[in-house]
């Protein structure tokens, strides 16, 4: 099965994010960049499917040349080749989905696997938009993916329980936390990754509409919550919650 995995480069989730004083963005000095954790889960799932059913795993990202680093990491995990759609400026989810839809129309994968959300803008949009643009079924927030013939059954993490839906390929699946535990790249994997194909394509060459319809005008730091007081015992805690805070 040919599987395409779109990935995004984001700040390491353990990084403390600081908004620049002029509100134009976040401070990026000292930021370690990683593959969006949910996309890492998507790569892992694609590799497991390939190991079971054979096929090819192709990574795609849309960003600057420096994002090659994250593609190499994905190749070291075991993906076969990668495409970097180069674009330096801001793009919104619609434009990203249009770019990916174009890449997919050339690559013709049977399955697209990606993270449910990127942990930088937290939008949770691209997978669903892409599915609609392709006219494919979607399964977001997947915690289990099962194949039988050409049919896929996906268990989804929804409010209040687990939902199962089924459809034929091709389709778009977005990953949730419990789908799998991503592997680390092995040393031989890292060596091999250096020789794998990594193609750069300018976004402008794809002939899709990149106009920004969602503009981030300014960023501000959120209001800070002040630390309160320490209590000495459980009895005191229950007492203050009852008499002072009046919440129990």
């Amino acid at each position: 099965m040919k599987i395409l995995v779109p990935i995004k480069r984001v700040p390491d989730p353990a990084t403390t994010i600081r908004v620049l004083p002029d509100g134009s963005g976040i401070a990026t000095d000292n930021v370690k960049w990683v593959i969006n954790p949910f996309d890492e889960i998507a790569i892992e799932e694609a590799l497991r499917i390939k190991e079971k059913l054979t096929g090819e795993v192709v990574l795609v990202t849309v960003g600057q040349s420096s994002w090659q680093e994250q593609l190499r990491t994905g190749l070291a995990m075991g993906a076969d080749r990668a495409v970097l759609v180069k674009h330096d400026g801001a793009l919104d989810s619609l434009a990203i989905a249009r770019i990916l839809a174009k890449v997919i129309s050339d690559e013709k994968p049977e399955l697209v696997l990606l993270g449910k959300q990127a942990i930088d803008d937290d939008s949770n949009q691209v997978g669903q938009m892409l599915a609609e643009m392709l006219g494919w079924p979607q399964a977001t927030f997947a915690s289990k993916v099962e194949f039988a013939d050409q049919k896929v059954t996906v268990t989804r993490e929804v409010d209040g329980g687990l939902e199962a839906i089924a459809f034929n390929l091709p389709a778009v699946i977005t990953t949730d936390l419990r789908l799998n535990e991503p592997r680390y790249a092995s040393l031989p994997g890292i060596m091999k990754a250096r020789k794998k194909e990594l193609k750069e394509v300018p976004a402008e060459s794809l002939g899709v509409d990149l106009a920004l319809k969602l503009k981030v005008k300014t960023l501000a730091a959120p209001p800070k919550r002040q630390a309160g007081k320490k209590v000495g015992s459980v009895q005191e805690l229950v007492q203050v919650l009852h008499a002072e805070a009046k919440v129990i």
């Binding site: 959300q117 942990i119 609609e132 977001t140 927030f141 993490e157 939902e163 919550r225």
Partner: protein, 324 residues
């Protein structure tokens, strides 16, 4: 222009509180953009529910009806709602960012070629919106450009709408769904059985973290306190990652966002991504044996203690308080 279609999600024949939040936000948006708020209930026989939501201050309720809308499925719902937006000429489509809202609205936005703002927390008078980014470490002011705009709201950032005295008219619309948009089949819904309040609706939430050490301890140590307090139970991502509890209990950036009157964090260190899901709670209590844990920086009341002693003790104290 300025009209707002509010997607009124229903579960098991009822509207969850998150739907009433969407109605409230939709009314505010329509007020600020000079349009009317119209609620839409989709289903195979949505008339009764449409009549119910018509009581909540909207100008009209639409019962969007089709056999393929019986169970929620993104592709069929997106097709039916897109046709309705075109038919009504509405400028906005709005829903709360529940699992359904998050699944459906981006698909709808793509079908409309419309920009989408996820999980907004404020509607500004100048036409902009505020939404959190980077796990809530940055609040972005954003602008949407286009004849139609799609918006999900964060449930904790808006009040729930209240019923008024005059119900609005209900209009039945037979949905249009082409075969190409019905490629997905519903298989099953396995509901988590619980007598406890829903996480996003509870007045009190008690959450456990990695400090609980096992799923069994969630049951034997944490749950008695949860039930003594009449609370909903939550968990940190670390506890979900470790397999202690299912993911639908996860409070945080990539789980549920809650803002109860009282949030009790037990054995939770307070990672950025967890704080993103609970820091707007009215009162926060932290119980942790590590006094350096970052959770204490946001807690109104902190107790440095071994949770395996403190939690059963607290359950006991709660019992005493109830009987006093």
């Amino acid at each position: 222009m300025g009209d707002v279609l509010i997607f009124a999600e229903h579960q098991g024949g009822h509207f969850p509180k998150t739907t009433l939040t969407a109605v409230h936000a939709g009314l505010e948006l329509a007020g600020k953009r000079g349009g009317q708020a119209i609620a839409v209930v989709a289903g195979d026989a949505p008339e009764a529910l449409a009549a119910e939501i018509a009581k909540y201050g909207v100008a009209k309720a639409i019962a969007l009806s089709h056999a393929n809308l019986k169970n929620y499925l993104a592709d069929a719902h997106a097709a039916a709602l897109t046709a309705l937006i075109k038919q009504t000429g509405a400028e906005f489509l709005l829903a709360t960012a529940t699992a359904v809202g998050k699944d459906l609205l981006p698909r709808l936005a793509a079908r409309l070629g419309a920009p989408m703002a996820s999980e907004i927390t404020a509607i500004n008078d100048d036409g902009t919106y505020v939404r959190p980014m980077y796990a809530g470490n940055a609040m972005a002011t954003i602008e949407l450009d286009g004849p139609v705009k799609v918006i999900t709201v964060r449930g904790t950032a808006f009040d729930a709408a209240k019923p008024g005295s005059n119900p609005a008219p209900v209009e039945k619309v037979d949905a249009e769904i082409d075969a190409a948009a019905a490629k997905t089949q519903f298989v099953s819904f396995n509901q988590t059985k619980s007598d406890r309040p829903q996480l996003t609706e509870a007045r009190i939430v008690v959450s456990g973290g990695r400090g609980l050490k096992s799923g069994d301890n969630f049951k034997t140590v944490l749950e008695p306190l949860v039930d003594e307090m009449g609370a909903a139970m939550g968990a940190s991502r670390a506890a979900v990652d470790a397999g202690f509890v299912p993911n639908d209990l996860q409070v945080g950036q990539t789980g549920k966002v809650v803002a109860p009157e009282l949030y009790v964090a037990v054995g939770i260190s307070g990672a950025i991504q967890h704080l993103a899901g609970m820091k707007d709670s009215k009162i926060i209590v932290a119980i942790n044996k590590d006094e350096e844990a970052p959770i204490f920086n946001v807690a109104d009341y902190g107790l440095v203690a071994d949770l395996f002693k403190a939690v059963p003790e607290m359950a006991e104290e709660m019992k005493k308080l109830k009987h006093s």
